[in-house]
């Protein structure tokens, strides 16, 4: 479970994130939806602890990310916006590198990698250098790398950006499978269909603030329309004063 409580972050004169609070529960996929520049990446970076909030806090399975960063991170897998691989290492070595840095022993790492190879269908390219992999294969390796320490929580920042249709589709299947394992998944997107197709909970952010938080159904009701797109635009529009 990921709990964000009243997160604020300011970069100079710009208030990037203001009072953002939400809870992402286990066994659910929570989508952070908002236009570009709404503060999604900044929020997620505070969630996985590479940015310190000015005020507010984040707890991963009840552990404060700032107070006990290492312990909290052990419960957290991260797929940042830029999830580049090391081109001269094989897919397996890429995964093993992160596994080792997570403190996993050699034997355990071998077993865990075997599980990931099977569940993400990576048998064909696990021994190949990362620079020769397709987009879909790369996202699998990046995901395996984020999951190597078997975290209960997974954060993904715009994971579908720049992926082709096939890769997006397989990513969706993988996220659903992870959810069914009871993990808590938090991801950001600016594509509404993306969120609609996957999420149990939606947090709509705009101009650094939470504009709406709830199930897809409750967002629709709040917008007073059966179309999620319409509801999304209304929620955003009322915030930006152009309704």
């Amino acid at each position: 479970m990921i709990e964000a409580d009243a997160l604020c972050k300011r970069f100079g004169a710009i208030e990037a994130v203001r009072e953002v609070s939400f809870t992402a529960r286990d066994g659910e996929i929570t989508g952070l939806l908002g236009p570009n520049g709404a503060g999604k990446s900044t929020t997620l970076r505070m969630v996985y602890g590479v940015l310190a909030p000015d005020t507010g806090s984040v707890r991963i399975d009840g552990i404060d990310i700032r107070g006990e960063t290492s312990r909290a991170r052990a419960h957290l897998g991260v797929l940042p916006h830029a999830a580049g691989l090391y081109g001269n290492l094989t897919a397996r070595e890429n995964i093993a590198y992160f596994g080792s840095l997570q403190g996993i022993g050699r034997r355990q790492l071998r077993a865990r990698t075997a599980d990931l190879v099977a569940s993400l269908a990576m048998e064909d390219f696990i021994e190949r250098r990362a620079k020769g992999l397709s987009q879909g294969q790369r996202i699998k390796v990046a995901l395996a790398r984020a999951l190597v320490h078997d975290p209960a929580n997974l954060v993904l920042d715009e994971p579908t950006n720049g992926l082709d249709v096939m890769a997006i589709r397989s990513l969706r299947e993988m996220l659903k499978a992870l959810k069914s394992q009871g993990r808590c998944i938090l991801f950001s997107s600016h594509v509404m269909q993306e969120v609609a197709a996957l999420c149990d909970q939606v947090v709509i952010v705009g101009q650094g603030r939470v504009l709406a938080h709830g199930t897809l159904q409750s967002i629709r009701e709040r917008g007073g329309t059966a179309s999620l797109e319409e509801a999304f635009l209304r929620v955003l529009g009322s915030a930006e004063g152009c309704d």
Partner: protein, 392 residues
């Protein structure tokens, strides 16, 4: 500590697999100096041998007025080309490099010579043309010898001892040893050694920092539960490993190259065997972490591979500054200078080449100051890596 070695292992392996950077780091960088050096010294040898063997050729105008002088010059092994150039024509001929040196015997030479008055001779040469200047120097020397010979004969003829005209007799004693002369030539070899050392780690320093950012793998790495100091330490350690390799290859190449360059023919003996190479390696070793930290620090502040390359090219020149400064002011080895990295390594290596005794204190100061500065830089890098701005 475990994370540090994991990072080290990964960076080492990744760099090892990159063939292009490997060629540059372990072939081009370390071999550039020795090969250039070998070629340069060989060329210098060829030139000096050719010059001393070759008979001088000059053009002389109005030689019929000075048959004695002509015989004297010819007896000294000079090939004379007889001509009748006016002063203007001689200038033009020298300027166009058709001839190197023209000696003109003016019309009043013979009468003045017979009257025991100073007889004029014109020596036309271009002092900006290095080989011509050497020829002119030799001709000038010969003409002076001829003149003093005549003077002695004239004094004798008048019953005066020629010794009266030689109030002092200067004897030069050149104390340069063959090794010392070699050091003058090998003086900037030390820079090539430091250059090779830095080149070995250049690409890894960029790849493990700016490259990590450009590839988009940095944020994932920073979100791991790993102390940033361990990350930075592992990266710098891997850079150091390649720098040591490059240094070793470079020194081995120097030893091999100098086995084939006949320095003895220049009256030099290069004190450059395996033992010297090992001493060089030991002297340079403390400079390795300093160079690695300096390059990693600079590369950590850049946004892209290209930008890092631009800045690091200037870093490669940094060790030259103290060395250039030292040679301009011809600084001698002093303990206070041992506190300046790169200069201290240069001075120590020069001492080894000269086969001079080296004070253990100097070695300790050199190593200590380099390592202390390296530690400071590593701390600065770790601090920078802990900052949020590192995400970019």
């Amino acid at each position: 500590m475990r994370a540090l070695f994991t990072v080290f292992g990964k960076e080492f392996l990744e760099n090892l697999r990159d063939r292009r950077t490997l060629v540059s780091a372990l072939l081009f960088g370390p071999l550039f100096g020795p090969l250039l050096f070998g070629a340069m010294v060989s060329r210098m040898l060829d030139q000096s041998v050719a010059e001393s063997d070759e008979p001088l050729k000059i053009s002389i105008s109005g030689a019929e007025q000075a048959p004695n002088l002509r015989r004297y010059l010819e007896s000294q092994g000079i090939t004379l080309t007889l001509s009748s150039l006016s002063e203007g024509a001689a200038r033009a001929a020298v300027q166009s490099r058709a001839v190197q040196v023209v000696v003109i015997v003016p019309a009043d030479y013979a009468p003045r010579f017979s009257a025991a008055l100073p007889a004029p001779l014109l020596l036309v040469a271009d002092s900006s043309d290095a080989p011509a200047r050497k020829t002119a120097d030799r001709v000038r020397q010969l003409l002076a010898n001829y003149g003093s010979g005549i003077a002695q004969l004239r004094l004798k003829a008048r019953g005066v001892s020629p010794l009266l005209a030689v109030p002092v007799a200067v004897n030069e004693i050149d104390v340069t040893t063959p090794t010392g002369r070699a050091v003058a030539v090998l003086g900037f070899m030390t820079y090539f050694v430091l250059f090779a050392l830095l080149m070995g780690g250049l690409y890894l320093a960029i790849d493990s920092t700016a490259g990590e950012r450009e590839r988009g793998s940095l944020e994932a790495l920073l979100s791991l539960p790993v102390d940033r100091a361990s990350m930075v330490g592992g990266k710098i350690l891997a850079t150091c490993a390649y720098m040591c390799l490059s240094l070793a290859i470079s020194l081995a190449a120097f030893v091999v190259v100098f086995r084939f360059v006949p320095l003895e023919r220049l009256g030099m003996s290069a004190n450059l065997g395996a033992g010297t190479a090992l001493k060089f390696f030991a002297i340079c070793l403390p400079f390795v972490p300093l160079g690695a930290a300096l390059m990693t620090l600079v590369a950590s502040f850049t946004r892209s591979y290209r930008e890092a390359q631009t800045y690091l090219t200037s870093v490669l020149l940094v060790p030259t500054l103290p060395i250039a400064f030292a040679s301009i002011y011809s600084l001698k080895t002093k303990s206070s200078l041992m506190l300046i990295p790169s200069l201290s390594q240069h001075l120590l290596m020069t001492s080894v080449l000269k086969d001079e005794p080296i004070a253990p204190l100097d070695v300790a100061l050199s190593a200590g100051s380099s390592l202390a500065l390296a530690l400071l830089l590593v701390a600065a890098i770790a601090r920078h890596w802990r900052r949020e701005s590192m995400l970019g």
